[in-house]
Symmetry: C2
Subunit: 676 residues, 2 copies
């Protein structure tokens, strides 16, 4: 169909109000004020309640287009039940896309339905009905052109002609007539849904990716030296070897001297303590400068290029706050709040004082210049080849700043991806996502039990939230060493890795502490690391025998090879009759790639249970004796499973999880089965 919306609306203008109601449209974020999100190649499934009075036939179409296109693509909406209709389309181009709905009472289809009933009921005289149909078809011929017009005109003549009633009735009920008539509907009475809804279509990496966070200054090959971009370059094969797509670096800018923090966040640093990278800005520059200890812009650009060569993108941390030594403080004191004595206000959370941090005053009188400058920070690093930004504490800056700045950047650079590091209240996190953030940190880091994981993942990955929010499941961060990892030893790291990497299409770890299974907090009850890299340079022996690097590499390889793991909305939990075990699956829409994950959540003990798969829904055969093969992609073991209940036992000290590729039986030859 290639009907023009504007023409329809015009033709409807002086007509009686439409008899069709369109309501309950989904997805629609905050009444259509804010966009949903997709990546290129993903489907959008739209549903709505659509109905009219009486018994006439309704036709409804879903219209969509890249913003700025002249015409609309149209796909039919199909009736489900209880006045609910649904339709779907795939977005194929990065950038803004939009969709809406139109529906109308179709006079021809209403006539067709009635004729069909009367014909079936054997009503003897259909003269009047056939003449009415002839009129409708003749009118459509007027709207048509070319061969369709001729065809319809001829059919109208036939319906009103001298042939037998039976022949004419069949000509009226004919499928080809229905198809041709559908191209030229009578659109008086068209109902145009009063909102055009938008979609932010991003590149694949916004949906699927494995993140590795590390401190460049701890990347030196020998202990005691401050690491550089050159050292990070040397570390790239290690990171690529583990299969990561994104290498995320904490702030790389000059670090303030005033009120610098020492090791373990102490207030009394030594002269050689490097300070926290989040105390941004020194005499050497601010958010557009590089810490001299890390190297030069050439070094940085080279790192970005080398990483790209290994399939890795560099992500930067953008923390909009300043150390007292930041150039903004001298050059734009009006961008900060001042105390009555004229000094700039430092950050506080009474009774705590953060004298090393000056918060930016986003509401200052000079806000327009300030906002433009902060936007330019993103554009600056985009010019240096960076297009992934992890934004620090966005929930302490105005929502409408993010709405604005992300749109400003993204409209020019739709490759830009923004990750919101907002560990805060649910509605605040959701609002940041609605405002344009591609990805969000989540509560996954603290969800350990079967009930917690099931509830939270269902909230995050299914339903309305998934339309605009994508979790990036970090297993740990420099700020968060979860209690589970403090007490669970090496198995707990394997468990959390598998969960993060298979529950989430995007996940991350902070290494090397993660792969080295570092679980010691600065003190009991704290989630801070002991001797945290936030305040000091550390050195890691990458060849430590207890390292999980090979395990991580295998898990990331499995992720890459199995498209089922590249999405979130396909997550589905399955029953296991043991609360210490979690089972879930993901599959491609055509079920050709089906992954079932079984995890022992208990890092101490072997657990076992019966896993229940909905074999019918998963097309694994129907009969109870039907067998299928599950292939553990971690251990390479293969098992034959039967029916919907199968026994699984997992020893956390050997392998706490199965990542099972499920293979259907293709055919049986004598006593040997082939599996696809």
């Amino acid at each position: 169909m290639a009907l023009e919306g504007q023409a329809r609306a015009d033709s409807a203008r002086d007509w009686v109000p439409s008899r069709v109601i369109i309501e309950g449209v989904s997805p629609e974020v905050d009444g259509g004020r804010l966009p949903i999100k997709r990546t290129v190649g993903e489907e959008v499934v739209v549903s709505a309640d659509i109905f009219t009075d009486g018994h006439d036939a309704v036709v409804a179409v879903l219209r969509h287009r890249p913003v700025g296109s002249a015409g609309w693509a149209e796909v039919p909406l199909v009736f489900l039940n209880n006045d609910r209709w649904t339709g779907r389309f795939t977005v194929t181009r990065q950038g803004w896309h939009e969709y809406s709905i139109q529906a109308w009472v179709d006079r021809f289809l209403s006539w067709h339905k009635e004729l069909s009933k009367k014909h079936e009921a054997g009503q003897p005289d259909l003269t009047s009905e056939l003449l009415e149909g002839a009129t409708l078809v003749r009118e459509a011929a007027e709207r048509a052109s070319g061969p369709d017009a001729d065809w319809l005109r001829e059919r109208a003549r036939f319906l009103a002609g001298p042939e037998s009633q039976s022949a004419r009735a069949w000509a009226g009920l004919d499928r080809e007539l229905v198809e041709r008539m559908a191209r030229y509907p009578d659109l008086r009475g068209l109902c145009v849904y009063d909102k055009v809804l938008s979609i932010m279509v991003e590149r694949e990496r916004a949906r699927f990716g494995s993140w590795y966070e590390m401190f460049p200054r701890s990347a030196a090959s020998e202990p005691g030296r401050h690491g550089t971009f050159r050292d990070v370059e040397a570390r790239l094969p290690y990171v690529a070897g583990m299969g990561f797509d994104v290498l995320y670096l904490p702030p790389i800018h000059p670090i303030g001297r005033a009120f610098r923090k020492g090791p373990n966040n102490s207030l009394t640093p030594g002269p050689n303590d490097p300070g926290s990278p989040w105390a941004i800005g020194g005499p050497e520059g601010g958010h557009k400068a590089i810490h001299p200890g890390l190297g030069t812009f050439e070094d940085f650009d080279r790192l970005v290029a080398k990483a790209r060569g290994l399939g890795i993108e560099i992500a930067l941390d953008i923390a909009f706050q300043c150390s007292p030594d930041h150039p903004y403080v001298r050059e734009h004191p009006q961008w900060f709040r001042h105390r009555p004595d004229g000094t700039i206000k430092y950050a506080e959370n009474p009774p705590k004082k953060y004298q090393d941090i000056y918060p930016i005053d986003f509401e200052c009188d000079d806000w327009k210049a300030l906002w433009a400058e902060l936007r330019d920070v993103f554009l600056f690093w985009i010019d240096h080849g960076v297009s992934i930004f992890r934004v620090d504490n966005p929930h302490t800056k105005p929502f409408r700043f993010w709405d604005w700045v992300i749109k400003q950047v993204w409209d020019k650079h739709p490759d830009a991806i923004f990750l919101a590091e907002a560990f805060t209240r649910p509605k605040v996190m959701k609002r940041l996502a609605k405002g344009g953030y591609s990805q969000s940190y989540t509560y996954f880091t603290w969800r350990n039990t079967k009930w917690e994981l099931t509830e939270y993942m269902n909230e995050l990955m299914l339903g309305e939230t998934a339309e605009y929010m994508r979790g990036n499941l970090f297993a740990n961060t420099p700020d968060i060493l979860p209690e589970y990892l403090q007490v669970g030893g090496r198995p707990s790291f394997m468990i959390r890795l598998v969960l993060a990497a298979t529950l989430g299409a995007t996940y991350g770890i902070y290494g090397p502490p993660f792969e080295h299974c570092v679980g010691t907090p600065v003190r009991q009850g704290s989630e801070e690391y002991l001797d945290s890299e936030k305040y000091q340079v550390r050195h890691w022996d990458l060849d430590a025998p207890w390292s999980l690097r090979d395990y991580i590499a295998r898990v990331n390889e499995i992720r890459r090879e199995n498209p089922a793991l590249h999405s979130n909305r396909n997550l589905r939990f399955f029953h296991v009759d043991n609360d210490a075990m979690l089972c879930y699956g993901k599959s491609t829409p055509d079920l050709s790639n089906l992954i079932v994950v079984v995890v022992n959540l208990d890092p101490y003990h072997t657990q076992s249970g019966w896993v229940h798969l909905p074999v019918h829904d998963l097309s694994l055969g129907s009969g109870p004796g039907e067998t299928y093969q599950v292939h553990d992609l971690i251990s390479d073991a293969r098992y034959l499973w039967h029916g919907d209940a199968n026994f699984v036992q997992l020893d956390p000290h050997v392998s706490p999880a199965h990542i099972l590729q499920v293979r259907r039986r293709l055919r049986t030859e004598r006593d040997f089965d082939y599996f696809m």
Copy 2:
């Protein structure tokens, strides 16, 4: 607070975008496109998600006013939890009312919160903080006038003055300062919710009333005669005696002769058969005329006046369809659809034909004149003292016609009440309600089991549906003799009466068949009455000994005397450990009137069970030994109940239900208890 919204919005115009988010506003019907409903004196409870970035204090107000008022009334929104806020107001004037929300970051309250924390933490130097506060108070003084301005100016001086830090800190934390400052907030950064939502405020009868439907032509005092309005007049004391508020008459217009239906819907009427009142229009006139057999306009006006004198309103049936003899057919043939041979199309539901009915074509070219004429039908009867209309089959006419006509009528006559007789799909029924219908027929008529009643009533009376839809629970209608009443005998009528009258603030019966326990259908499997009054004149002996008139009178008296039964949204179901028994309660907001109903749903057998009341929530005392009195208002029996579980047994052949007024113990004197 008496702040002007427009002034606020203006002052905010050139300022930085607001830091506050307002979303998830409830109630909000279809994104604010359609109104919620209330009656005069009812509360509106509004909730919303409101938050800002960071930790600053937010203030939010709910603004409301009768549409057309110059100013807004404001009530505070109060924080609940998880960023949800709520506020409430009462509508006191009939007509359109509107509401919206405004919120802002309050700099003074943010300062106050911080000072309070620092003061509690014993921070030694508060010099800077107190000077900041002085500035904020001085700025508020500029916005204030009169004594407040002077008071605030003085307080600002004190905060910045030479007094001790402790004295000045207390002056900053002072409650009176907070109250005075709240009157003059700094509204730069105000967030104005982008929708103004509307409320249709109706009179009490739209919410609470007992309806009685009867055929005037069956009201003659002697058998065989066609009843008249005079006979209905004579019947008024009978109807008033049973305690009804609304007497609803099927169409009173001239009845068509062409294709008239005979008894039991036969196609071969005798010459004296009166026809169906819904085949509207004859040579004597149409929707603005009276059937000559019923009397004159004087008779009608007299009936309306007499009824009013007994506290009864006459409701008319408006059925927008025509018999072939209707004057519209001659005078406005363009208002109907035509067949190719020039004749007008009669109604059909293939293979059935309804040749006695011509549907009106609401989409005809002359629709504007048609719609105006149909509106005038309502206005015509309003001029004759009728303001309650039961609209026949509104779901077969365009929704937007109803939206338009109800607004047209209601804007001039806000006493008008419209009841939608739409027994159709749920979303269609809801859309009619959203479009302005005061009341709706419901599926109650077919909901018999405990599960069905609980589910359906919770859907209808709680949650979003209750914001715009009010069920009128009819126990039977001339079209519906439910199977339950066909088989259950007299107890089934008592059961359905109690359910309708106590579940619904508005309910109705069609009599005399109802009070006479008439349960014989035209044939097995049909819900049509045998010898239905729709097609013939009947005569009823009002003094039949099996009549339920006294039982009905008592139930309606209980309804009138107990304000708890005047609302729907206060319905709450309680547990009974017997699926054949249903228990629920209603109370006034202050719990001073509390009614608990226990019904045996089984019309054949005695049933018993333990009724569980949430005694704590209902303020019936806390201790397990606490007693309260339940007074069965039907039988006048009183029982002492203890704690939350009490035994009830009901014999349907004696009395299938308790309507219990619950009385708390006021005091105990020796061994005698007084109950309020």
